[in-house]
Amino acid sequence: MENSKNIFNENPKSSLAKVLDIISTMASKPSGFIGLAILIFHVTLAITSPWFAPYDYKAINPTLMLNAPSSEFWFGTDSLGRDVFTRTILGGRTALTITFFGSIIALLWGGLLGIFCGLVGGRIDDIVMRIVDAFLSIPWILAMLLIVSLLGTTTEVLIPALGFFYGKGIVRVARAATHDVIAKDFIVSAKARGHSNLSIIWNEILPNVRDAILVEGAMRWSWMLLGFSSLSFLGFGVSPPTPDWGLMISNARGLMSFAWWAVIAPIVGLSSLIIGINLTADAFAKALGIDRSTKAPV
């Protein structure tokens, strides 16, 4: 079964059935199940929250400043009298959208460049890997902050910048995975059959390195979310009054000695989402049979 897949390029199972298979394997362990549940909850919340948010997220009301949680304001109000519950359930939307598209960009350029490097090898490979190494040695936060402070904090800047900086680690993974398959017999036979390089990449290499790259991408998503929230926290992410967890934590932090609710609510939101994505990515890796536990977070 496994061999015929590579030779005839026909999948015995439909791709939907395969995806369902992987998801059920992921959910069969408690950590994977919890992770998936949290992730689905957050995505659903992010999509539907504008319809049931009880208040206007940007309505400033000086008479309602720093109210403690009550039946009227479930999570209390912040220093500008805005409802914390409304802002918390809306707070993941920007982060999820930006990091989702950022991860796709990271996967695309990182994966393709990695496969290319693994494929051509030699001098070009050496040079590209040197440059990737150099980028890896610059702390992401310095580079991100520089770009964002000079180009602005709009979505059009943040998505490609995050995608670029979190993609360079994927280059290494994709390259290593390509190196592993490149010497296998079915690549040699494809070359002997006279297939073009593009066809070999698409039909032979991609199906075999896809899993490793996808797992790396899932992991990058959680790191990117962490990075994006850190930027917001430092005041270099989304701009107010957009509800965003990182920004909310940073604003409420100064007053947390008497208004802890305004900082706890976004903390719970952001932490649970990141843990959810992490557990899901781990379960995803295990379901595909990839061991990430000995890797450094680079």
Partner: protein, 318 residues
């Protein structure tokens, strides 16, 4: 073996050279040069001309890069824009403060990570492992600024045990600094320990499953003697490189932690210089942080080579 070390060293230097090019070109191609972005609305007339003259922005970029690189090699980063002082004077106390923070975190973190990693591996899937691993996952995944904020909220505000925010001048002496660094060190060590313990755990588990350990068990080697004599030396070697990468990776996280605690180290300087658009300082920081990353990796390579006899013979055979 010396050739291998030499090769790693040269590779590190090449990486640093590329980093210097990247930071220089990056600052060059991003819109706005050092003067216009620093002076902002006052960027015209005499002030602009004087600033351009001082930074030498009127000479071509490649010549400027060469003079800059030449001075950096001699340990001179030039002048900062905002403080009107030498970057070296700005950097000196900051590096010292960050070094204190990082070494304290490493001194606490590495032994703790070893102990926790070994415990979780030996009692795999039992109660100690489940508890420690769950805590580790939490402290590993939660962003630095959240764990730092929670630490301040719980330890400093609710329990009132320690000062929450560091209020000391940049050039504070070591002993004045000490009580202030407890919370930041805990915040950084927590994340670092979790990462390293996880790697030690999987490394130990891998070695425990190997043939020679099975052999040792069958031969009837006492359990703890086997653990200390056969498992650990083999399990900890591959962990060195990964530990180095983790420490280097934390450089980014230290920036955020320092900001949360208002700690006067390199990390806060990153934010300050970027907020002030002080591009010469940003360039200097890029080079310095990258050098730290490269040297940590180089030291790790060196350690692995020295501690692993197999790699030595591998080299001579080649």
């Amino acid at each position: 073996m010396f050739f291998l070390i030499f090769k790693r060293f040269v590779l590190g230097l090449i990486t640093l050279f590329i980093v210097s090019l990247i930071t220089f070109i990056g600052v060059e191609i991003l819109p706005g040069d050092a003067c216009t972005s620093y002076l902002e609305r006052e960027a015209f007339g005499e002030a602009l001309a004087a600033c351009i003259k001082r930074l030498g922005l009127d000479i071509p970029a490649h010549e400027r890069y060469l003079t800059w690189a030449y001075n950096v090699i001699q340990g001179d980063f030039g002048y900062s824009l905002s403080g009107q002082m030498q970057i070296n004077e700005v950097l000196g106390p900051r590096i010292k403060n960050s070094l204190v923070l990082a070494s304290a975190a490493i001194i606490i973190g590495i032994p703790l990570a070893l102990i926790l990693g070994i415990i979780t591996a030996l009692w795999r899937d039992k109660m100690p492992d489940i508890i420690i691993s769950t805590v580790a996952i939490f402290s590993m995944t939660i962003p630095e600024f959240i764990s730092a904020t929670l630490l301040i909220l719980i330890v400093a505000i609710w329990l009132e045990w320690l000062p929450g925010i560091v209020i000391v001048p940049t050039d504070v002496t070591f002993f004045e600094l000490l009580p202030n660094i407890i919370l930041p060190v805990i915040a950084i060590a927590m994340i670092m320990t979790a990462h390293m313990a996880r790697m030690v755990r999987s490394s130990v588990i891998q070695v425990m499953a190997s043939d020679y350990i099975q052999m040792a068990i069958l031969k009837g080697v006492p359990y703890w003697k086997m653990v200390f004599k056969h498992v650990l030396p083999n399990a900890l070697l591959p962990a060195i490189n990964v530990v180095a990468l983790t420490i280097a990776w934390l450089l980014g996280g230290v920036v955020v932690t320092e900001v949360v605690f208002n700690y006067p180290g390199l990390g806060r300087l990153v934010i300050e210089s970027i907020s002030n658009r002080d591009l010469p300082v940003v360039q200097a920081l890029g080079i310095i942080l990258a050098s730290i990353y490269v040297s940590i990796n180089f030291i790790a390579d060196l350690l692995t080579l020295m501690l692993n006899p197999r790699l030595k013979t591998l080299q001579t055979r080649k």
